[in-house]
């Protein structure tokens, strides 16, 4: 049986593709260190869409206690959150 190891780079590339397609923006519009809300890429419904994407793509439920700025405050934070859950 083989084990697939996911890297942060892969997660980030997949997330950026999702963001560009879903929210109709270009890669260069997204500052990965800043909040997607503060920079106007998404609104509160966008947070739901990202949570739903994560659940489906990475096959784990985003629980209520996960829904905070520490996990969703930027692309980097979202990537770290996914990586942490997937490798724990």
């Amino acid at each position: 049986m083989s084990t697939t190891v996911i890297t942060k780079t892969e997660i980030q590339n997949e997330l950026m593709e999702f963001l560009c397609r879903q929210f109709l923006v270009e890669t260069e519009d997204i500052d990965i260190t800043k909040s997607l809300v503060d920079t106007g890429i998404i609104d509160s419904m966008g947070l739901i869409e990202i949570a739903s994407y994560i659940s489906k793509k990475y096959e784990f439920k985003v629980e209520e206690q996960h829904m905070n700025r520490d996990n969703f405050g930027s692309v980097i934070k979202i990537v770290d959150f996914i990586y942490r859950v997937k490798t724990s």
Partner: protein, 342 residues
């Protein structure tokens, strides 16, 4: 609403964000190059999850669901589904924004009587609502990326609807809030979700602060929830959009709700069945962004074969000038002050 160019399959215009056309005049949305998740997968998943949620929570509170009821065709059908298909005990709620068609109010009375359900109408101060609409029309209150499916005025109004419904749900410990949004109005991955106020509050704060600066502390009354209410109610309700999992045309919806006494108002535009302000809202959106806020929703219905392209075009262009003029007069908005977004 005239556009230089529209997709030959749907009605998306050349001003719509990220639009591209192939050599045949078909847009990249129709060619499935955008919007990540496919509806079919998401809908199938949502149907089973929603059914399970209803089964888990039905009968545990005085009401199973708060239904946001505008009196329009979609929310009327949502109400019918909640009561008759899902067997929920509902409390319907209408936000009187000061611009609801009298026929829509008659519909609300007839339908709630016929279904035998409890109903609340909440009317914020008319002056506040007019100030909010004026601000939403003339200032860049929201980021343009959040307005691809909705006008700024509708967004402001629906924010009050959402917050008021959430307050009722928290006060009465109601596990569900139901609304009549269709796919196209909302993305497929938001058909149901837990309404985590604290999480969303952060993202809404910049807009709320702008509103408070202009409209004063009343903003808090209509668009925020007190810590005391939040601490009293440990569980957030689920928001569910039942209509998104139904494959039904507009004509079929109307057929279903006519026996409840529903009648089509004549004093609204082609895209609304309850609000006399909608034509003005669309006019503002077109002036600011160059496209109609209904293009995405109507195009989605065309792709799902629930609406013909001709019907969609007819709705899009049915924007009576007298309704736009009346709204501008009432809100004291000078059209010369509605500037294109840049």
């Amino acid at each position: 609403m005239e556009a230089n160019k529209r997709c030959i399959k749907c009605i998306l215009s050349d001003k719509f964000p990220k639009i591209k056309f192939d050599e045949h005049g078909v847009c990249n949305f129709c060619n499935n190059e955008l919007i990540y998740s496919t509806d079919a997968e998401q809908i199938n998943k949502s149907v089973s999850e929603i059914t399970k949620l209803f089964d888990d929570f039905r009968g545990k509170s005085d009401y199973d669901a708060i239904v946001c009821y505008s009196g329009g065709k979609d929310s009327t059908y949502t109400l019918k589904l909640a009561v008759e298909k899902y067997n929920l005990k509902v409390l319907s709620f209408t936000l009187d924004n000061g611009f609801i068609s009298p026929v829509a109010f008659e519909n609300i009375n007839r339908v709630t009587n016929k279904l035998g359900i409890d109903h609340i109408t909440y009317k914020p101060s008319y002056d506040f609502m007019k100030g909010l609409y004026r601000m939403s029309s003339l200032e860049s209150l929201y980021n343009p990326s959040s307005l691809t499916r909705i006008s700024a005025n509708c967004n402001s109004c629906i924010s009050i609807v959402n917050i008021t419904a959430l307050k009722y749900a928290l006060e009465k410990e109601v596990p569900f809030i139901l609304a009549g949004f269709t796919l196209g109005q909302i993305p497929a991955n938001t058909i149901y979700y837990k309404n985590n106020y604290k999480f969303f509050e952060e993202s809404r704060r910049p807009v709320i602060e702008k509103m408070k600066n202009k409209l004063g502390k009343n903003v808090s009354t209509y668009l925020e929830i007190s810590d005391s209410l939040l601490s009293k109610s440990p569980n957030y309700p689920y928001n569910i959009n039942l209509l998104c999992v139904e494959d039904i045309t507009e004509n079929e919806i109307i057929e279903q709700i006519l026996p409840l006494g529903w009648k089509k108002p004549k004093d609204v535009d082609g895209c609304s069945t309850n609000c006399k302000l909608n034509a003005f809202n669309n006019f503002v959106h077109f002036k600011r962004y160059g496209y109609s806020p209904y293009e995405l929703e109507l195009s989605h219905l065309i792709r799902k074969k629930l609406l013909s392209r001709e019907e969609a075009i007819e709705k899009l262009y049915d924007q009576p000038q007298d309704q736009i003029n009346n709204a501008m007069l009432e809100l004291k908005v000078d059209p010369a002050h509605i500037l294109p977004f840049n």
